[in-house]
């Protein structure tokens, strides 16, 4: 794996600027100080794969912006810090980016716990931050502040979208999710929404393996013994992979329907081992949007990193492009001006449609996707077929609900 140290990153930016910018920029523009973007993310720890995709997505966006002449004649410069999935490092690095490196804007971290930490620092220093991976409902709820913006479907939205998208024929539903906050919230919001859209359905069994559990067999036998119509899983990453592999030998996927949160990284890791016919819910899969900007993005990403982009790369790219559009619209790096610009922004991103932020919680009206796993000849791994796109306004909490959460 190539190293993308800060120096390399700067080197790449400089090279690109030199190569593409020769003749295109005047000397005066070249001397303008860059607009600095700070990205604290977890390049170390269990979520490191997501952080890598995120950094690549932001980098690609910045390279394109700079190649087109930057913003207000100024280049963008990215500063990346590794918070190692430790919230305290998230705080220290974000503060340091603001106070020492004097970054102009922040773009979102990786894990939700670090997201909470980064958001708190952004609040204290009144810095605009755009989140592209963390999605705990607390960020838009009790921890919301006016400089916070998110283009990630929140945990609430995803859980409701899952309940919304399921066929009404599933009555007895079992749940399995890592024993941590997000999945406890997920089962709650899922259950609440289910009561609305499919009142006869019941959650009959819940299993809570710890995060990083190597062996799911006892949980699998427990799930199967309750003979559910459907199992809803909030496992992800390496946990989901271990679960699927172990569940296969129990014939779980023949015996019951399985619906799960799913990341592109999981599809890639499992390859042909991924069973067909699993209901997968995804944040922002590149194959979820056909044609247009997405195809160009997939090609550019592949050319630059020799890889198919993940959901995280899609959202990171969109987040950076959207922030750039906000800065352009404000025609300044003033925090309040950019905040106001983002509040009124109409951004046409990779996933089609127009992204806007609503007033109450600065939640972007981003979709989520539900589909069935199957083979696509163009990709070296399984993908989703029969993709249903679930729009944000169908599932996001009402402003009243958000305000009630903040008390």
């Amino acid at each position: 794996m190539t190293s993308f140290g800060t120096l390399t990153r700067r080197g790449v930016t400089a090279l690109l600027a030199a190569a593409l910018g020769a003749g295109a920029f005047t000397g005066a523009q070249a001397q303008q100080p860059p607009i600095k973007i700070g990205l604290t993310t977890d390049l170390t720890g269990i979520a490191a794969a997501y952080a890598r995709g995120q950094v690549n997505g932001v980098e690609l966006a910045i390279a394109e912006i700079n190649a087109a002449g930057g913003i207000m004649g100024r280049k963008l410069e990215l500063l990346v810090r590794d918070s190692q999935l430790r919230p305290e490092l998230g705080t220290s690095h974000t503060r340091d980016l603001i106070t020492r490196e004097k970054v102009d804007f922040l773009i979102g971290p990786d894990a939700s716990s670090v997201g909470v930490a980064v958001s708190a620092v952004a609040k204290q220093y009144k810095k605009v931050v755009v989140m592209t991976i963390p999605n705990t409902p607390r960020l838009v709820g009790e921890l919301y502040h006016p400089h916070f913006f998110t283009i990630v479907p929140s945990g609430t939205m995803l859980a409701r979208a899952m309940a919304e998208g399921l066929d009404k024929k599933y009555k007895s539903i079992a749940f399995i999710g890592g024993d941590y906050e997000a999945s406890h919230q997920a089962v709650k919001y899922f259950g609440d929404w289910l009561a609305k859209v499919n009142p006869e359905a019941k959650i009959t069994n819940t299993q809570w393996p710890k995060l990083g559990e190597p062996d799911f067999t006892p949980y699998i036998t427990q799930l199967l013994s309750s003979k559910p119509d459907l199992i809803f899983s909030y496992l992800w990453g390496s946990d989901l992979i271990a679960f699927i592999k172990q569940a296969k030998s129990y014939g779980l996927f023949e015996r019951t329907k399985f619906a799960t949160l799913l990341f592109l990284d999981d599809l890639r890791a499992l390859g042909s081992e991924m069973p067909d016919g699993i209901l997968g819910q995804m944040y922002a899969p590149p194959f979820g949007t056909k044609g247009g900007k997405m195809d160009t993005f997939i090609q550019a990403f592949n050319a630059k990193y020799n890889a198919y982009p993940s959901d995280w790369a899609v959202m990171a790219y969109d987040g950076m492009m959207l922030l750039a559009q906000g800065i352009k619209a404000a025609n300044s790096v003033d925090q309040e001006a950019v905040r106001t610009a983002l509040e009124g922004i109409k951004y046409e991103g990779l996933q089609g449609g127009v992204t806007t932020f609503r007033e109450v919680d600065h939640q972007g009206n981003v979709p989520s996707f539900l589909g069935v796993t199957g083979k696509d000849d163009k990709l070296p791994f399984k993908t989703l077929v029969d993709i249903k796109r679930i729009e944000a306004d169908k599932v996001w909490p009402t402003p009243q609900e958000i305000l009630a959460e903040r008390k």
Binding site: M1, W208, T221, A242
Partner: protein, 290 residues
């Protein structure tokens, strides 16, 4: 009733992987008196080597068998190098320093794996033959877990024979019982130490290679296995292979049954068992008082 049986059996199969890893840890602990934090790293490296080997061999049975041979050997070589080049230099110092040294190795290996294999998590397919399940009183039980249980028992038996019948084994047992005496008897202590550490690393590697096809291969799997392995060693008794077997089965089955009875408390069961053993029988269930 069958449910309970299947539950217990899956606990046993989990316990077997844990036993294979922990048996290596307990031997190292018993002979070198080092709480080897790097043991989890050995397990993780073996899992990643398994990934590479299986990919190169193109999956299927040959790849699976090749990885079972190659991955533990790679890790054993790594272990031998660590013992000879690093641990030996400080073997006369307080054990505290050796503990820290192995901890430093876990950090270096964690990032080393990231440098070599990248940050993505991986998956290794099982050979076709071991994909399915057998039927136990009409309930399916995965054939791969049957294999795990068999291999675990074979390793237990082989270790027992080695400890009782071979010269190396006898010296090893003597070293567990009384480290100083072994030195006085003219045994080549450095060779013994290297041998035990290499064997221990090989066992951790075997555990990692066996677990790879049923789990996921990701950075961080070293952290979760090491704490459980320590628990097994303490419960079973330091230096006792039979103790490690008992400890691993206790933890595996306790966890499996715990999930049935009180799911949210399943994690706590292990620690409660551990605390109970340490307080009532600090030398472990099958350990000898020092």
């Amino acid at each position: 009733m069958t449910d309970v049986l299947i539950q217990i059996l899956s606990g046993v199969s989990r316990g077997m992987v844990l036993f294979i890893v922990a048996s290596g840890l307990t031997l190292i602990f018993g002979v070198l008196r080092v709480a080897n934090f790097a043991h989890g790293s050995f397990y993780m490296v073996a899992a990643f080597v398994t990934y590479t080997v299986t990919r190169m061999a193109g999956g299927g049975m040959p790849g699976f068998l090749a990885s079972l041979v190659i991955a533990p050997l790679c890790v054993a070589a790594l272990g031998a190098a660590i013992e000879m080049l690093l641990l030996r230099r400080i073997q006369h110092r307080d054990h505290f320093y050796q503990l820290i040294l192995t901890f430093a190795i876990t950090l270096i290996v964690a990032d080393g794996v990231k440098m070599i294999w990248g940050r993505d998590y991986r998956s290794v397919p099982r050979p076709q033959l071991l994909e399915g399940s057998i039927s136990i009183f009409g309930s399916p039980f995965p054939s791969y877990y049957v294999l795990l249980i068999v291999i675990g028992l074979v390793i237990a038996l082989a270790l027992r024979l080695m400890l009782e019948r071979t010269r190396f084994g006898k010296t090893l047992r003597a070293a567990v019982a009384d480290g100083e005496m072994v030195g006085a008897l003219g045994v080549n202590v450095p060779l013994l130490y290297t041998g035990v550490f290499t064997l221990g690393a090989w066992l951790a590697g075997l555990g990692g290679a066996l677990a790879a096809p049923v789990g996921s291969i990701a950075i961080g799997i070293d952290n979760s296995i090491i704490i459980e392995s320590f628990a097994v060693v303490i419960i079973g008794g330091v230096g006792s292979v039979s103790g490690a077997l008992v400890g691993a089965l206790v933890i595996g089955v306790l966890q499996a049954i715990g999930i049935m009875v009180a799911p949210r408390l399943a994690i706590a069961f292990i620690f409660i068992a551990l605390c109970a053993v340490l307080l009532l029988r600090p030398q472990g269930l099958l350990g000898r008082r020092a």
